[in-house]
Amino acid sequence: MSLVDYAVIGLLVLTSTVMGTVLILVGHFVRPRKPTPAKLQPYESGVPDVNPPRGRITPRFYLVALLFVVFDVEAIFIYPWAVAFDALALYGFLQAALFVGILLIGLLYEWRKGALEWV
């Protein structure tokens, strides 16, 4: 465990990016390129597109995103506690239980309010 391990990961990120770019570049010399206006239209089952493609989005997705943020932060707080579980023992367990309990009440509330229904 040292800086070397992170440096290796950094180098591998670079390598895989370069590999992908090279594949695309190689393809550039092989593949045909004959764009026509019809070909460049977005796929819309063969009819002309009337509405803007990036129109309105159901608010359900925003709700899921909000819920995700809440519980992901919960997970991030739980992780260090889990790793140090033996050292924190009963006191730590009760604290974590309190923390999870509060969020669990929140989840039940959302459930009752219908935030988890997907209609």
Binding site: M1, S2, V4, D5, A7, V8, I9, L11, L12, T15, S16, T17, M19, G20, L23, I24, V26, G27, V30, R31, P32, R33, K34, P35, P37, K39, L40, P42, Y43, E44, D49, P53, R54, G55, I57, R60, F61, V64, L67, F68, F71, D72, A75, Y79, A82, V83, A84, F85, D86, A89, L90, F93, A96, A97, V100, L104, L107, L116, E117, W118
Partner: protein, 341 residues
Amino acid sequence: MDWQRLLVSYFVGFVLLNVLLGLMAYMTWFERRVLARMQHRVGPNRTGPFGLLQPIADGIKLLAKEDIVPANADRLVFLVAPLLSFALAPLGAAVIPFGESLHLFGLEIPLLVADINVAVLYVLALGSIGVYGIILGGYASGNRYSLLGALRSTAQVISYELVLGLSLVGVFILAGSFSLQDILREQQRVLVIGPLTLPNWYILSQPLAFALFLIAAVAETNRAPFDLPEAETELVAGYFTEYSGFRFSFYFLAEYINMIVVSLLAGTLFVGGIDGPFADGVWWLALKALFFLFFYVWLRATLPRFRYDQLMGLAWKVLLPLALLNIGLTGLVRLWGIGAL
């Protein structure tokens, strides 16, 4: 900085990257053959012996296909998004221990590319960043199906990521570490219960976590029966509807590499990784990962696709409470085990 170690580790990582790409190509062959057999078909068997050259033929074909950028796409994002998915997919394998160090030519060659102490956290983080490739690609396409597919996919992946992350907490409590190396070492010990001698694999002490992890992992990699983002009857091809040629194959590559990485991870976290009877070694991990990959194909051949509301309901109303329950139970048992209760 230790330059020699950096160089050796990087070399191992580079080899691993290429092995993963090769394995991924043959995973497509494996899936098509097994799926065909399960459906009483033969599958690809014309290109080379047993169709073994099929992945190579597919690769060449895709490389020679036109790369169409739709007229109202966000050009730069459209071109970069698949690359993002592809470049991040194989990196998870960098923290998976493939065995003890080898000694060759007077060098110590580690069979673990990056021994970082937050390995599992790092893999989960990679999964989160991988979502960007999907949502950016879907958004930049300028197509309704792509956008809807991308949104569904994102909502699905983040919901199941939560389950994935929380299902591992039990393992962290037992192992007391995020490092896959430590988790593996912990599992290599022997468990003696009365007359029985069992390996200390976490599938035995964390069966619920294992089931949750497996379900969440299938959903996380967008595979059947959770392949909603690409439900062809509703959304054409989901977030990659507008992609063609090699950029399309980047998403495809990323999906299959993710499957392999998740299988390796499941093998290491729950069934002892390189640990096995007779002689420990990378072959045990390969066998376990192969089983999980077979399991993926098996699921695809067996189960019909979920409806979207069922999918989200399952994550939030069933799996998430179960994951929290598992944490509580594991905590209580551990407290009793260390004599703090």
